[in-house]
Symmetry: C2
Subunit: 184 residues, 2 copies
DNA sequence: CATTTATAGTATGGAGTCGATACAAATACC
DNA sequence: GGTATTTGTATCGACTCCATACTATAAATG
């Protein structure tokens, strides 16, 4: 087996462990924290149960139950979609944002800063790896909005070429389940 | 948040998803497959329930139950330790080895080969990342036996300086929970 | 050597994941 | 307008996971 594949497997186990202990400190399970973190980075087309199911590769039923738990804990709220009455938009409550503030990712940030490697090549490597694995899984790409082929920069703000809708500035930095392109 | 941290989080989610779908194809859960994969790479000091608990950051009770399931499915066997009657060594059955043969890691291997990055820098980056994160978690390092400070190369074979026992050649390429050193 | 302490593993109960299946409601397609 | 598809929910069974308690063995300590 490829040495990097082994490293990736151990890296993944370690990250999952970080998430687990982080979640446990808040009385949550890993999936709870992962969903909250995802919702924090999902744009208006991706803050839906189905998007969470696609992103994590679980069924809609599982997501539905997880969201029931998160809603009961006061971390997530459900809002109906204005145009499609089947859809439900998820929204993080202040409590959830508070909880995410001292995430394990902060410590990872610090770890990355102290690493004896240059950050640019590391980032390029990780990005290539991510793209390759996404292709491998035959899965939705979930790239950042403003790097999408559909993204249109306009005189005042931006627009999504797929939906035709204008995009608020903060949306353009978030993940989108409709993302299409070559380099995220 | 650091760009690489974000990428790491998405990478981890993607890998976990690969493991999940791989496991589902065999009627297993992610943890089942992860434990089997771990046992395939654990040396004689690390094929214990306690080592699995340390590696994945879960309690001994959880591991105990998972192993009960894996044993019932005929994927793992328990052997008593010759010197310490509290200990139980886990052993993969032929069925388990068969199951691991077409692991998702094979497809990751292929993905890595096709990546537009050089493999050496990628490996170095991942290794640095791994070391940093292990330090971050304040966790057992689980390095490869023959890179350990305790490892002694001898005229005929090798020996562990910690236990004083001779090491079979194939053991020296496996993970050890007692590993100590600076570079794995 | 006897007592104490630490270690390795198991048993049990409760909350929650997860897939499978079935279902309801709304939209898309023709 | 009728059918197919999409989105989300409800329910059941197997399993994870933690907390706690417990047994057995080994190590440390006097």
């Amino acid at each position: 087996m490829n040495a990097s594949t082994l490293l990736l497997e151990r890296l993944s186990a370690l990250i999952h462990q970080s998430v687990r202990s982080e979640a446990a400190r808040h009385g949550l399970l890993p999936m709870h924290l992962q969903v909250l973190s995802y919702l924090d980075r999902a744009n208006q087309y991706s803050d839906l149960p189905i998007a969470i199911a696609e992103y994590f590769g679980v069924t809609r039923g599982t997501v539905s139950q997880t969201l029931t738990v998160l809603e009961r804990k006061g971390l997530v709220a459900r809002d109906p979609d204005a145009h499609d009455r089947r859809r439900v938009h998820l929204r993080l409550t202040p409590a959830a944002r508070n909880l995410l503030a001292d995430s394990w990712t902060r410590r990872v940030d610090e770890t990355l800063r102290d690493l004896p490697v240059e950050s640019d090549p590391l980032e390029q490597n990780l990005r290539a790896l991510l793209t390759g694995l996404q292709r491998l899984n035959g899965q939705q790409a979930f790239g950042v909005c403003h790097t999408c082929d559909h993204f249109l920069r306009e005189a005042h703000g931006a627009r999504c070429g797929l939906t035709g809708e204008p995009l608020a500035e903060e949306q353009t930095f978030k993940l989108c389940r409709e993302w299409t392109g070559t380099t995220d």
